[in-house]
Point group: D3
Chain length 282, copies 6
């Protein structure tokens, strides 16, 4: 997988600024103020403490830049790189005070984003034999969606809707309120912006058949059995994109992929990935 280009700085700068503001309070780093001579300078290394995929480096670079532009941040393993225990991911060199003030915030970004990239890579590895994508959902940490979706890309996954205003997804409650699946799908196909894709969620094969006739861009097969998934794939004959979702986990994902669906979306990638452990060592 080729590397994903960095996000525009303007998108992540507010995230970094508020993380630093939150950590500095009204006095900055009380400890460093008292102990670290203004002239002390050092070089520290971000080292991986496990096996995984790096992400969040862009936020880490910006964290140090906003704390002290004189700090030199050198990237050894860019976002998307696979690392093992002990791999040096990057180094920072500059005034010790600045390094200490930025350390925690930078690690908080890197740990979370690398955690997401690493979990994604595990899911992707499980389905490597199949022509299927692993995709993230909108179940992201409030305020960090851009970085988290990017972390999924770094892990080899794909994104999904970026927001409620990017594409159309019709779920069961929409259908109920719109007066049935036919009416709902027709209304959506007619009213949708010509640049917005339409996805319809179905729970049963019967619903799937009804919806397929309307040829939406995507049909979302929610919480279906493997048998039902296979039936839908067979019926579909490549007419629309099929996405499976619901209760997907690392043990079930390969079987789901084997049904022949095109996309498997996994909320856990962004809402339940454990931190990836990275240290900042001398």
């Amino acid at each position: 997988m080729t590397r994903t280009p960095p996000l525009p700085r303007i998108v992540i700068e507010p995230m970094v600024r508020r993380a630093l503001a939150e950590d500095f309070g009204t006095a900055g780093d009380l400890t460093a103020n008292l102990l670290i001579p203004e002239t002390a300078s050092a070089k520290l290394y971000f080292k991986s403490r496990g096996t995984g995929v790096v992400s969040g480096l862009q936020a880490a670079v910006l964290t140090f830049a906003l704390v002290d532009p004189s700090v030199v941040f050198e990237v050894h393993c860019p976002d998307g790189a696979r690392v093992r225990k002990g791999t040096v991911i990057a180094s920072v060199e500059g005034p010790v005070r600045s390094l200490l003030m930025a350390e925690r915030t930078a690690l908080n970004f890197m740990g979370r984003m690398s955690g997401i990239a690493t979990m994604t890579a595990k899911f992707v590895a499980k389905v490597a034999a199949h022509n299927v994508r692993i995709a993230a959902t909108r179940k992201t940490t409030p305020g960090l969606r851009a970085l988290e979706k990017r972390a999924v890309l770094h892990g080899g996954g794909h994104t999904h809707r970026g927001s409620l205003s990017d594409a159309i997804m019709v779920k069961d409650n929409h259908i109920a309120l719109a007066g049935g699946v036919d009416k709902a799908v027709k209304a959506v196909m007619k009213g949708a912006d010509h640049m917005a894709k339409v996805s319809i969620e179905v729970d049963t094969v019967a619903q799937f058949k009804k919806v397929l006739k309307h040829r939406p861009d995507v049909i979302l097969l929610d919480n279906m059995s493997l048998d039902d998934l296979r039936t839908c794939v067979t019926l579909n004959k490549g007419k629309t994109t099929l996405e499976a979702s619901g209760g997907v986990n690392i043990r079930t994902v390969a079987a789901i992929a084997a049904t022949g669906v095109d996309v498997i979306s996994v909320g856990a990638l962004t809402h339940s990935a454990p931190n990836f452990d990275i240290g900042l060592d001398a």
Copy 2:
């Protein structure tokens, strides 16, 4: 444990506003716009899909209030309450469009914060037999520290420094740069604000003895063996607060508690708690 009072709204409002802005883009909810009649109204229920502790309700309440002040949010199980699979945590009633627009953001807050509260409660339960506190660290999600620290309280844990400017923590790199432990501790005891506590991190019993003479408010025993922890507790004789940290997990925490330390701090509470599953059902 009595319930923790809500945070001032002014502290969490910016978090909720940016989460909603992120999810609404420039067009709002394309799907609801096309399908949901302006007059349709409904009552939906937040239901727990597992056993755990509720947190994040305050952010959820604010999410709906900011989307549509006419929505009525009724809390059945407040932040800090223990719930089981199927427990109704809260209900929202109002225009369906507003409910759908706010749903994902509210669940993202509740899922993450309840996940933290639930993991905290598990650690707390493991050490119930001991007079010890489980505390969170500064390893929080960038931009959400206030809510995450509060979630730890809801789970029965305690907080720690809120920021670098709240208290003084001297770690090994500070000591090295300050010219040794004696010089470092002296400098800190002399310079520290009289309202700021001082904590000194030690790795060995030898260091502990050196530091104890200075009587800092807290000594942080980092990555020590159980034997060493016990030795420090014995030497301490209640003179200062002893905090254990480093690689604490749900399997090791009880044994650490049994050594007699006063506080055990756990980064995983805020950086690796999996989402707590909550649904919004009709």
Copy 3:
């Protein structure tokens, strides 16, 4: 055309707040401060001074609400309504000072948005005989895209990409840099998120034929002659959505629509619509 639901308040509130801040400076309304008794109250009427379509009311309502929550804003003709010279669109009643302070900002929103809705309605009327959509582009006023896209909907038009991250549009410069049209289209079809539509821009019938083979969601026919447009429509046979753009104006739009394209996009709707004149009278 049914009315478009209002945008979430959270999307437009920052626009209104900065407009008011810009107009109030550090002293508020010097004139009202000196002349209007605190107790004076009045009812004023927004009256149309021409024939057109109303838009921007939502921002106007919020303008008065932010200046003074005690002002009562009554909407007679909602966003999307057609009005004639003299039609009363809405009324505001409350303290005169508040009415005067909010007046200009509210009218600035209403005049611009109603201007866009009105121009859109004129384009829509010109193509009423054809099964074609009039769509806006990203050529919107910096900072006001959400409101301006909404104004296009109020005028009976459609939107388009909301932002660079909503959908994929491949233009000639992308193709050149990607090493030719085949390589570019393949790369995009392979890499695109499954929820993001793909549009490819072509300038000639020859390019169109090449691109059509890849079946992107949309082909954008840029600055083509009517003859070429007709040829593309014939070749397309309904396989993809065809969008015409480039130098469309009120005199040429009907002929373009008659070629059978599906969408005509018009930058002028948002970048060159003259103000729609509305007065606030006693």
Copy 4:
């Protein structure tokens, strides 16, 4: 007319930041991400596609700088310069991805501001034979007043009140509520800050005579006939500044200027100027 100095960056930076945020959403430029090699670099030229006056360059420069500080922006025709079809206004050189991401936002600023400057220059040209100023009003686009007022200067016009707190303008509704013109003017002359100018609006020659006795700094002659304007000029004998306003357009402005008023204010400059067409070409 000498060139107007640029606005302080701090005034326009928020405008540019929110325009970019609006256009980047949570993923940045999906298309460039997929197609443009990170190493591709290019030089592109802003070319005028008509005859007019340049404005908005400062915002365009900042747009590119915020997207990518490595982009070199070279100005050939500064803000205020007159250009013809084909004139190269400026060039940008740097990474293609950055150029494409910033392009639309920069052009949106330049097109609108150059449109305003160009319309202003047309009004100014019409009154060149007279000793009169063309001035803008507060009828500006919400959130962009500073740039739009500057565009009027670039076109050879003048500004007016920057905000409600800059100067005092008494209109008919103020007079009515203050208990008549004499009371109103007296109250204002007495209470006004010594650094704030006072302008009184009149509709008739009779009112003009009453107001002139109080010698306000400016008398605004609203919607008067050419005859009445001439009468006021004659009566005034240079005692105060006379400003004509109301329904001024490009066909009537010369005759109004010929009456001898000092200032003609024109809302259309900022609320109805069509976009000035500029392209970004290889």
Copy 5:
């Protein structure tokens, strides 16, 4: 002097929000959280502890409203009222936790603003026998100008330029750089917006004579002796507004007023007024 109307809430809300954010950190009020029962409610009274003029109440009202909308704030002595030791200025009633959280911030606003109003009133009293105004300068606390200028009005003083973009003040360094006083004044009179007043600073009677010929709106007599001030007043014969400034203090202001100048501007009003002591008592 009649009371000044309140500032638009939108102008002061950001000031109050950041003051509260600064005081709440990431945990809110640790003390109240631990000690005050959620149900405890109380009524507290703002009492003056000295003789002076009230100001800042509007910010105090908003402080409590933002902390807890259920708090009832009752104003007994509005902004601008004169109070003595023991006077009850206002009361607040509601949940004790909310009262304690808002107390310090509200008092910080009231103490500073009442301090400014009180000092202003003392200067105004000293010049009561003369037809002269006491005016504030731009020497205000960064970020609080709107409130501080308003406090000067509450004390019976007047404001001045609100900002660099409100009016024109030509000082000696401008004159030097512009090539002498004649050139400078001409340039300004020609270029100034017709709604912006022009003030020219002079240090000597000789300069005064030169400048008077140009009839600027205001001549600022900087650091002149009483004799020179009198000479300028005599020469002026009411032609322009004369403002004295420079080293004015409570002991010299009456003598300066007696020279016959129209305005005396005093930086100390906003940069050196001591806090006015107000308590919040049960």
Copy 6:
């Protein structure tokens, strides 16, 4: 006293940005625009006009940097330095327009912060013979707490709680609501975060004795007579930190220090320090 390191830029940048925005309005510096040639450049000197301690330089440096990065700011006497009348504190060199635009804002920061540092140094000098600290309170200017607390450090003083969430202070009203001093102190000692200090306020020697038994970190002796202070010091025998507060002024502070308390907190340092006069001269 060694110099305090600068605050992180991210903490003070918002303060400087809003101060400049407030002073620039929508047009920037009208006067400089008209009079100062774009090419004029100069070097100006910040000169002390009295005897005192410098503070606020960091904000001044940032003010010029944000207005024009090409301005060279040279610091001669850093924050914390003692200066006399005529001492050159710093110089700025660059475009005259930029210098004039930034001047007032920079001086407003420097004047206020140096005023605070200077007043603090006077208090510190008065108590030099005693082993006591002078500390600031939370009575700071809304929005400027970080800079003002830093100014106190520059003057040789100490800070205190940075915010309500930094440490615990129990006052009389807390005690009353919590059901007496014993209950209150117990609740606090039990519930307090292990990194948060606890201070208890007492008014009488009797209360002091009750509280001392609980050994809080600090006991605040509020408004006590010198005799009572001495009694408390004697009883305390160094067990806890004793802080005296209430009505401390420059005439009483030495006697209070002589009682043997550890800390004297003085609200006036931040709420009533007069401006320190600094000029910007050629």
